[in-house]
Structures are given as structure tokens and as C-alpha cells.
């Protein structure tokens, strides 16, 4: 029996189309705007809305905040499935940057007390945004191909550390302020003209593993890095997440298509729940590759070599 529900919190940035196509249930989190408490949670918008949102965010970063779904909200959804006797695989945003995974686990423990037969499996994605989304879609695809909940969960646990983030985050002030970065806070202001290359570390936090002056050089460094870390490129669907960097993402997509010929490259939006904590400067590809080393030691050395070799 492989009928089980796949649930994710809103950080996965998967819009209605994905939710429908892959049968994914989203538990929205909470967002506050400067003029609106608990604003409606959205996973869909037009280009103009995106631009307006990030413009407003840049002007008043402190006016925006987010919170993950609380225990009660997870509980309610889990209970719904428990009552139906349906198993649940819940994939959350990285525990390194959010409390969602802890809340989901507590909710599960409480639900299991009332429904001893309920089967709820929580997986910490160790990723956010499209990285998180990519894992959720992989899970859905495995389910569709007949794998059961344990097989899917085991696959995710085994492979989540192979989801790479290859891109830049050219305004680190947001991640630094919200503590969503491994580095000390003091160091990162807005960096004009310099592109910090961000990768996920072992614990699911973003770490700057190199810096490149100028976008043109950054693109070629990124592609070389991807070439060295991606596995079976031609079989993959690669996501590009961008906050307010759509033109750059399109350029990046073209280059990736040309160089690696993957099945598909999808430019995905970063909606407010993640965007508020990342800021407008993210443009990164997410794909399955080599396992990420502890402390990113190998990745740092690789990037250092690539940067010195790229003119």
C-alpha cells in the first residue's frame, strides 16, 4: 500500500500547479507586513507583485517577519489524516533556520497519543525554498512510481545532503540579520558589485564559500562549480530560485541548458515566507550532486580552485 500523504510547510515555495500535479499538501506559515499582521499566505504571484514586494522589503526590512506553522496547526492537519487512517510524510524546512521541524515532531507525538495507529514520518529537509521544494517533488515522484512511505523517507534521509545550492546571494544583510547564515552577523552588509557564492552546509545553513567580483565572472564560476558537483545532469529537473533577480535567472537558465542538457530547468519564485529572510539578492540553482562534505571543506577548496582558474 503506497497511498500516503506528502505534506510540507510553506517554505518549499511550490505553487498551486505543483501542489496539484504532485498531490502535495501545504501547511502555510505566518507572515507579517509592516501594515498587516498575519497577512494572507501566498504561493503565487505575478511579476509585478514580486517586484513590488521586494522593493518594499528592501526599504523596510525590519517591518517584515515570518513564523512557521505552530504545533497546533501541524496537529490539526496530521489529525485530519489520522482520522482517515492515512499515513503522512511531512517534509519541513531546514531545522537549522526554522523551528518548523521541531513543531511538527511535537505535533506528531501528541497526535500519536490519541491515534496510536497513526503513522507520521517527519523529515528535516535541511534545505529551504526550491531546495526544500526539490526534495518534496522527488518524494512525490518516488511515491508515484510505487515506493512506500518508508522507502521514500529513507531515500530522502540518504540523499538530502546531496541537494546543492549553486548561486549567489548578493545581499547578505537579510540572512545575516535573521541568523540564517553560518557566519558571524557583523560581517555582511550590502555588497555592491561582489557576488558571494552560497552553498548549503551540512546542517542546512547557507555558507558563503567564495566571492566573485562581477556577475559575468560569477556565472562562469557557478557553471564550473556545477559541472564538478552535479551527478547525472541529463536526468535532472533543476530548479532556479530567485527572489528579485528574474532577468539574471533567465540568463543562468539558458547557460545551464546549453552546458548540461538537463531534462528541465524551472525558474521558481521565492515567496514571502522565505523571501523575507533571504532578501532580494538570491539567484541559485538546486540540483542533486555529490554528497556535501562536513564543514564544506571540499566544496570550498573546489571553488577556490575554480575562482583562481576562471579569468
Amino acid at each position: 500500500m503506497n497511498k500516503f500523504a506528502i505534506i510540507a510547510d510553506g517554505s518549499c515555495d511550490l505553487n498551486e500547479k505543483y501542489q496539484k500535479d504532485y498531490d502535495i499538501r501545504i501547511i502555510p506559515g505566518h507572515i507579517n507586513y509592516p501594515d498587516q499582521q498575519d497577512a494572507p499566505f501566498i504561493l503565487k504571484w505575478e511579476n509585478s507583485e514580486r517586484d513590488a514586494f521586494y522593493k518594499a522589503l528592501s526599504k523596510n526590512p525590519d517591518g517584515f517577519s515570518t513564523a512557521p506553522p505552530n504545533i497546533e496547526e501541524f496537529k490539526r492537519v496530521f489529525t485530519e489524516y489520522a482520522e482517515k487512517g492515512e499515513d503522512v510524510l511531512c517534509i519541513t524546512i531546514s531545522g537549522g533556520i526554522s523551528g518548523a521541524c521541531g513543531f511538527a515532531t511535537q505535533a506528531k507525538n501528541e497526535v500519536v497519543k490519541s491515534y496510536p495507529n497513526a503513522r507520521i514520518v517527519i523529515v528535516d529537509s535541511l534545505r529551504f525554498s526550491a531546495g526544500h521544494g526539490l526534495l518534496v517533488i522527488l518524494a512525490a515522484k518516488l511515491r508515484a512510481s510505487g515506493h512506500n512511505i518508508d522507502q521514500v523517507a529513507a531515500y530522502l534521509e540518504e540523499n538530502k545532503n546531496r541537494i546543492h545550492q549553486c548561486g549567489w546571494l548578493d545581499d547578505l544583510s537579510f540572512v545575516a540579520k535573521k541568523g540564517r547564515l553560518t557566519h558571524s552577523k557583523a560581517f555582511f552588509g550590502k555588497l555592491a558589485g561582489v557576488k558571494p557564492i552560497g552553498e548549503f552546509d551540512y546542517n542546512g545553513l547557507t555558507t558563503v564559500i567564495g566571492k566573485v567580483k562581477g556577475a559575468k565572472k560569477a556565472y562562469s564560476v557557478l557553471l564550473n562549480y556545477m559541472e564538478n558537483t552535479i551527478v547525472n545532469a541529463s536526468e535532472q529537473t533543476i530548479f532556479i530560485a530567485q527572489t528579485s533577480r528574474y532577468p539574471q535567472a533567465e540568463k543562468y537558465k539558458e547557460m545551464i541548458m546549453e552546458r548540461f542538457h538537463p531534462k528541465e530547468v524551472i525558474i521558481n519564485d521565492v515567496f514571502p515566507s522565505c523571501g523575507i529572510n533571504i532578501g532580494p539578492g538570491l539567484m541559485a540553482a538546486y540540483y542533486i550532486g555529490t554528497p556535501i562534505s562536513k564543514g564544506l571543506i571540499e566544496e570550498k577548496a573546489l571553488l577556490e580552485r575554480i575562482i583562481s582558474e576562471t579569468a
Binding site: 555592491a192 558589485g193 561582489v194 566571492k211 562581477g214 556577475a215
Partner: protein
């Protein structure tokens, strides 16, 4: 009668007069700056440097004892290239005269030679046609004419005359001077100092236009007595100052001989100054035995005023104050940067700069400011961004004064270079990697700075009139236009490899209005769509825009 010898007190008066003469010509020296930007600061920098020495040094009859603190004060207070060279010149003199109670013509000649040689040695690439040439030729051309009978006045007159000859010749040696139609500003400033010094000997005493800061000990009420307690070690003695009224009365010894009195006082302490004014004698002495000083003095009269201060207390206080300012938490790598403009200060702080040396007007940080910054920092390595080619020397001087423990000076010539270098740092990595990353950031940066010309000038086959909008490229006049925006656009067009450049960081100056910013970004997008231009709030003076291209 002319002087055959000068002592410490005379030399101090000469230096003060030299300083005053420089002050009076400061603006003129500033305006001699080669480039037509209104940040000419040679005069200010030389004055601040000399002033720092004068403030630091206490009067002392022994020439060597006066020169040592004078030179130290100048080394610490040195600002700009001209200031550093001036301070090194005095350091050379001090080294030569280190054993001299007084100096005669021969000693002075040797000191002037040692002075210019020390100055040459301090500059990595000495440039002829500057203060260096003038001080060298000034003494080398007359050294044969100086003998034991030469009066100090005559020596200095000849020295000045020779220096002036060379000064007028500096445009021939240095093409930038010739093109600009000026003589070298630093050399001119130096001559004003020596002229002032000679002036004092000849009776041309200039009154001080600005009262130097009172460095006398603070009043009692500000003292913190907790700095000296029953466990303290008393080693510094008392700073003792009094005015003694000599008395005719029979109970006092009538025959007061000031020279004898000075000799006697010398047994009890140092930093001695005795000035007799009619029947009053003013005395300053640092002594461990004030009772002896009192007993000796009361043989001749009674005190009009008397002040006795525990110098240990002041000393401890200074140490305490220093320690309080010092403590920055320990770091592996700390950075120091020099900027001008509130916005710049904030930008560098946001980048993680530990100590930002903020110059209010022009970029002229002193060696002392660097040393203070180094003292506040507790780090395994310090990286310094001078951000101006005229500040690099002061930073290097500070590095030496401080002892140079793992201090790395990355010679950024503009804030744009410093900004890119700092932005390239990646913390949480080993020191060598971080420093090399910052060095990489410094490379291939072109800096354009836009301002309004303050006077007519020609340079590099270009000429501009006061009021023209000019763009400097890496410190050299590059384009001249009636309109600042057109000037920038043509400067960008003329920049080699502009097509390969893709980042453009623009620091908006104090005078950059909101509508100017919009106009600039719009034009840039039109003309250079591939250039990613970002505006940052610099708030600097003088330059409406500073543009870093890479």
C-alpha cells in the same frame, strides 16, 4: 651678535616660530597642490605634523632632550606624504644630534644632511623635484662653505637661498608641476618653516596666531585618586611649578645667581625650566624631592604661587584612560580603514571594519591615529586600508612605530579599492586565505572621481578652468566638461576595457542631489546597459561622485 651655538630652548623657540610662519602661509601652500581639486592639504598636513611635535615636546635646555620628544611627536602626528617626510627629516636631525647639549655650525650641517638622508630612506620610491630634492641640494651645495666660524644665522640663510634656487627648478624635475605651472608645495612649506626658524634668531618673532592646546595637567577636581593608593609604587615624582619672588630682606641671601641656582636645581630633578623676569623667577621641575627644591628656593625669597602634582597619578590616569578606550574583543583578523564622509564610515562599518578612521575633510589620517587604532585592537592580524595614496606612508610609519606585529597594509588608493577589497573578505577561513582574497579584491579596480575644478590647470594635455566639471581617473585628471554628467559619461567611454567591466559602485557625495542620482543612473543604463551600477551613500566632501569600476 650672531649665534655660534644653539641650545634646546633656542631651538624650541625657532621651531615654534617656524611653525607660526608655516601657519601664516598655510593656504598658499595648500593651493600649490598640483591637482585642481579643492582638497589641497599639504600646508595643513605639514602644520599638523609640526604642531604635534611641538605639543609633545617639553622645553629643555639640552638640545638632544628637546629634539627627541619633538621628533617622536612628529612621527606620531605625521599626516600625508609631506608630513611623513617632514617628520622623518626631523628624526634624522634628532639622531645626528642625539648627544648634543648645544649645536654649532658643524653639528647643524651634519644634522641637515642626516635629515634629508633619513627622509629619502623613508620613501620607497623617492621622487625628485619635491621636498626631498630641495632639502638635499640645499645643504649639499653649501656644505663646503660651512666651517667652525660660520654663524648659525649665516648657515640658515645660505641654506634657504640654495633651497629656493632648487625650488624654482622643481618644475623642470617633475613634469606634473610644470604642466600645472606650480612649484612643489611640500618643498615650499619646508622653506617657510626654516625661514621662520631663522627669523626667530634674527629677532623676527611671530606671535602665535592659534594658542596651542594646553597640555598642562588637569585641575585637581578631575583627578581620580583611586589611581594611586597604599599599594602604588611612587616613581614619577612631582610636577612642581612656582613663581619665586626674590626678596631684599636681610634674612635671605642677597646674592642670587640664576645660573648657579639652575645648577643646584638640576641635582633634584629634570624637565627643568627656569625663567628670570626681573626680581621674579619662574620654575618648572619634575622632582622626587620637592622639599629640597623648596628649601633651596626659600633661601632667596618667597613663593608667589606654588603647584605640586603627583605625576604618578596623572600617569596612572593616562594608562587607565588608554586601557578603557582600548578593549575591542579579540578577533583573528581585524581591519582598519580610512574614510572621509559619514556614509563611508557607515558603509565600512557595515562591511565589518573594526576601526574606521574618519577624516572630516580631506583624507589625511596621521600615524598617531593608526597607532591608536592598532592599540585598540586585539587580533592575530590587522589589515589596513589607507584608501588614499597619500595615506599609505603614514600607515607604514605607524606600522613601524607600533612594532609591526602582523600588520598588513593593503595599499588601497581609493575608497572604491578599499571597498572592493573588504567586500571580498570571507570570514571563518584561515588568515592567509582571507588576506589573499582581499588583495584580489583590490586588483583591477578603476576609480573615477568627479568634482568641480577649483582653479585653472593643465595636465596630460588637458586643461581646465576653475568651475569646469572634471573627472579624475586613479588620481589623474582625465576629462573636462561643462556638464558633470557628460563628463562622467565621456570618462567611462574613454576608460579602456569598459566593455569588460561589469560592476560599478557609485559613492554619492555630500553634494549629490536626489535628482542628480536619478539622472546618473538613467544615463548609465542607457549608455552602458551591461554595467551593473549601484549607488551607495558616501557623503564625502569635494567629490560629488566616486565611481569604482571592476
Amino acid at each position: 651678535m650672531k649665534n655660534k651655538k644653539i641650545n634646546g630652548i633656542q631651538f624650541e623657540k625657532m621651531v615654534r616660530n617656524g611653525l607660526e610662519n608655516l601657519r601664516r602661509h598655510e593656504d598658499e601652500v595648500n593651493k600649490l597642490n598640483v591637482f585642481p581639486v579643492p582638497d589641497g592639504d599639504t600646508g595643513i598636513n605639514m602644520r599638523l605634523t609640526l604642531e604635534s611635535g611641538v605639543k609633545y615636546a617639553k622645553q629643555n635646555e639640552v638640545l638632544a632632550h628637546y629634539l627627541k620628544p619633538l621628533s617622536e611627536g612628529m612621527l606620531l602626528g605625521a599626516r600625508g606624504n609631506s608630513g611623513v617626510i617632514l617628520s622623518q627629516f626631523f628624526k634624522g636631525m634628532q639622531l645626528e644630534l642625539a648627544r648634543c647639549v648645544v649645536a654649532g655650525p658643524g653639528e647643524l650641517r651634519n644634522a641637515l644632511i642626516r635629515g634629508y638622508r633619513t627622509a629619502y630612506a623613508s620613501v620607497i620610491k623617492p621622487v625628485e623635484g619635491t621636498i626631498l630634492t630641495v632639502t638635499r641640494e640645499g645643504i649639499e651645495h653649501i656644505r663646503g662653505q660651512i666651517n667652525r666660524a660660520t654663524a648659525i644665522e649665516d648657515l640658515l640663510s645660505m641654506y634657504i637661498a640654495e633651497m629656493k634656487k632648487t625650488l624654482n627648478y622643481t618644475p623642470e624635475l617633475l613634469p606634473v608641476l610644470k604642466e600645472a605651472g606650480v612649484i612643489d608645495s611640500g618643498a615650499q612649506g619646508f622653506i617657510y618653516i626654516v625661514e621662520g626658524m631663522l627669523g626667530w634668531l634674527c629677532g623676527d618673532v611671530l606671535s602665535e596666531s592659534k594658542e596651542p592646546e594646553n597640555r598642562k595637567p588637569a585641575a585637581m577636581k578631575q583627578l581620580d585618586f583611586s589611581a594611586f593608593n597604599e599599594n602604588s609604587k611612587f616613581s614619577d615624582g612631582y610636577c612642581t611649578e612656582f613663581i619665586l619672588q626674590l626678596m631684599r630682606d636681610g634674612s635671605y641671601i642677597q646674592l642670587f645667581d640664576v645660573d648657579r641656582y639652575i645648577e643646584d636645581l638640576k641635582h633634584y630633578g629634570n624637565s627643568l625650566v627656569v625663567v628670570r623676569d626681573g626680581s621674579r623667577v619662574k620654575v618648572h621641575i619634575h622632582t622626587l624631592r620637592p622639599e629640597k627644591v623648596i628649601a633651596l628656593s626659600r633661601q632667596f625669597g618667597e613663593f608667589l604661587t606654588f603647584k605640586l602634582e603627583n605625576m604618578q597619578l596623572q600617569h596612572n590616569e593616562v594608562i587607565k584612560a588608554q586601557n578603557e578606550e582600548k578593549k575591542l574583543p579579540h578577533k583573528e583578523l581585524a581591519t582598519v580603514a580610512v574614510v572621509s564622509g559619514e556614509g563611508m564610515k557607515q558603509l565600512f562599518e557595515e562591511l565589518g571594519c573594526d576601526v574606521v578612521i574618519h577624516c572630516a575633510d580631506t583624507m589625511n589620517a596621521s600615524a598617531q591615529e593608526f597607532v591608536d587604532a592598532f592599540n585598540r585592537i586585539d587580533a592575530d592580524a590587522i589589515v589596513v586600508f589607507p584608501n588614499n595614496k597619500n595615506v599609505i606612508l603614514a600607515a607604514q610609519q605607524a606600522q613601524q612605530l607600533h612594532g609591526g606585529r602582523n600588520i598588513h597594509i593593503l595599499p588601497s588608493r581609493s575608497v572604491a579599492e578599499g571597498y572592493f577589497a573588504m567586500a571580498m573578505d570571507i570570514p571563518d577561513n584561515d588568515l592567509a586565505y582571507r588576506i589573499s582574497n582581499m588583495k584580489n579584491g583590490l586588483r583591477n579596480v578603476t576609480t573615477l572621481a568627479q568634482t568641480t575644478a577649483s582653479r585653472d590647470c593643465s595636465y596630460n594635455d588637458l586643461s581646465c578652468r576653475a568651475g569646469d566639471e572634471i573627472v579624475m581617473k586613479n588620481g589623474e585628471l582625465f576629462t573636462v566638461d561643462k556638464d558633470w554628467l557628460e563628463g562622467i559619461i565621456s570618462a567611462l567611454r574613454l576608460t579602456p576595457d569598459i566593455d569588460d567591466m561589469e560592476t560599478c559602485v557609485i559613492f554619492c557625495g555630500e553634494e549629490a542631489a536626489e535628482e542628480d542620482r536619478d539622472a546618473l543612473t538613467e544615463r548609465l543604463e542607457e549608455e552602458f546597459p551591461l554595467l551593473e551600477a549601484e549607488l551607495l551613500e558616501g557623503g564625502q566632501r569635494h567629490y560629488r561622485w566616486i565611481i569604482g569600476l571592476s
